[in-house]
């Protein structure tokens, strides 16, 4: 998730810009486009890591930024949480979700000790479950919400879909920078 930053449109940190969250309900066709972005992400990340190659994945995508390897493990960590937020919102009324220390998590020892192929496989299976869940949601369920205590925002599942489809493409953009380097 992007944190508010003073250097708002730093094109290296934000290679695809910031997400624009919908303020009115999406059409089924619009939703299908974002769901497809989530469905396509694991294969795109895998392809981007192949293009960048093993050595470049050990390098930061920007000075002081995460390495390609940390980016992949971060996407796996985060998308587990984002999928859970959908499940919480579908089974509780406007649940308060649990923020986490994404910078601290990226320094935990399994990130250095586990090959990225493990997180890429994890994402492939996780996104299969996530996409099937999204494809089965009723019109009314898309307007269910959760509350994020760090940002003090209530998001509908539609807004979360747009935000999280952006999140995957945002980090894919970072790997694209490494592949071009």
């Amino acid at each position: 998730m992007a944190s508010p930053s003073p250097s708002v449109d730093d094109p290296i940190r934000f290679p695809i810009g910031r997400p624009t969250l919908p303020t009115a309900p999406l059409s089924p066709a619009e939703r299908a486009t974002y769901i497809q972005q989530l469905a396509d992400l694991p294969a795109q990340l895998t392809a981007a890591t192949r293009r960048a190659g093993g050595e470049r994945l050990q390098q930061p995508y920007r000075p002081g930024g995460w390495t390609g390897r940390q980016v992949i493990h971060h996407v796996a960590d985060t998308h587990q949480q984002l999928y859970s937020r959908f499940r919480l919102a579908l089974t509780e009324d406007n649940p308060t979700v649990r923020p986490f220390d994404e910078a601290g998590w990226a320094e935990l020892p399994d990130v250095a000790a586990t090959p990225i192929t493990v997180s890429l496989s994890l994402l492939e299976a996780l996104h299969q479950r996530w996409v099937i869940l999204l494809q089965h949601l009723t019109e009314a369920q898309w307007q269910r919400t959760f509350y994020h205590p760090r940002y003090h925002t209530t998001l509908t599942l539609e807004q979360a879909l747009v935000q999280y489809a952006w999140h995957g493409r945002h980090h894919l953009g970072h790997l694209g920078l490494l592949a071009q380097a």
Binding site: R87, L108, A125, I132
Partner: protein
């Protein structure tokens, strides 16, 4: 205790820090679980996986998806406890989660694959924890219990074997 519902009995949580050998044995149980679940699912086949392991209980299919849901959450609890001081974790409604539409629509193989990857990361994390980290804790707001990572390790190693035993009941 209901022998069908609790085929290996309830979990036994350690009251004192575990030894390195005890921890290694429990970590090994987590490492082996995904392949054991996959082998049990393979022996059962798709049709028997749709049957409940006891009257009114989850189907084998639901059991496998539940283990994936649960272990995603438990891996997160370890990471929260390692990056925050005695964090309050977010409980979830496991009975309702088992009825969400992806559980019915998705083959068990997807959750088995998810578990294989997840447990690789989880086991790598556990194998690299320094001694002092095992006494870090998290707080469960519904049970009002504070759990050390040693106790959580014992609990989730039990949890995997507990559900593996449900699949064995279906095979019997």
């Amino acid at each position: 205790m209901d022998a069908l519902r609790y085929p290996i009995g309830p979990p036994q949580l350690p009251m004192n820090p575990l030894t390195a050998t005890e921890r290694a044995a429990l970590i090994q149980q987590l490492a082996e679980l995904p392949a054991q679940l996959a082998a049990a699912a393979e022996r059962l086949g798709a049709v028997r996986l749709q049957q409940p392991y006891r009257p009114g209980g989850w189907t084998g299919h639901q059991v496998i998806h539940h283990v994936a849901d649960s272990h995603l959450n438990s891996y997160v609890r370890f990471k929260l406890a390692l990056t925050e001081d005695n964090p309050t974790i977010k409980p979830y409604d496991e009975a309702t989660w088992a009825t969400l539409p992806d559980v019915a629509a998705e083959p068990a193989s997807v959750s088995l694959s998810l578990l294989a990857s997840l447990h690789q990361r989880w086991v790598a994390l556990l194998q690299h924890l320094p001694e002092a980290q095992w006494q870090r804790t998290f707080f469960h707001p519904e049970s009002r219990k504070t759990t050390t990572l040693d106790q959580a390790l014992a609990l989730y190693a039990w949890h995997g074997r507990h559900h593996l035993a449900h699949l064995a009941l279906l095979e019997a």
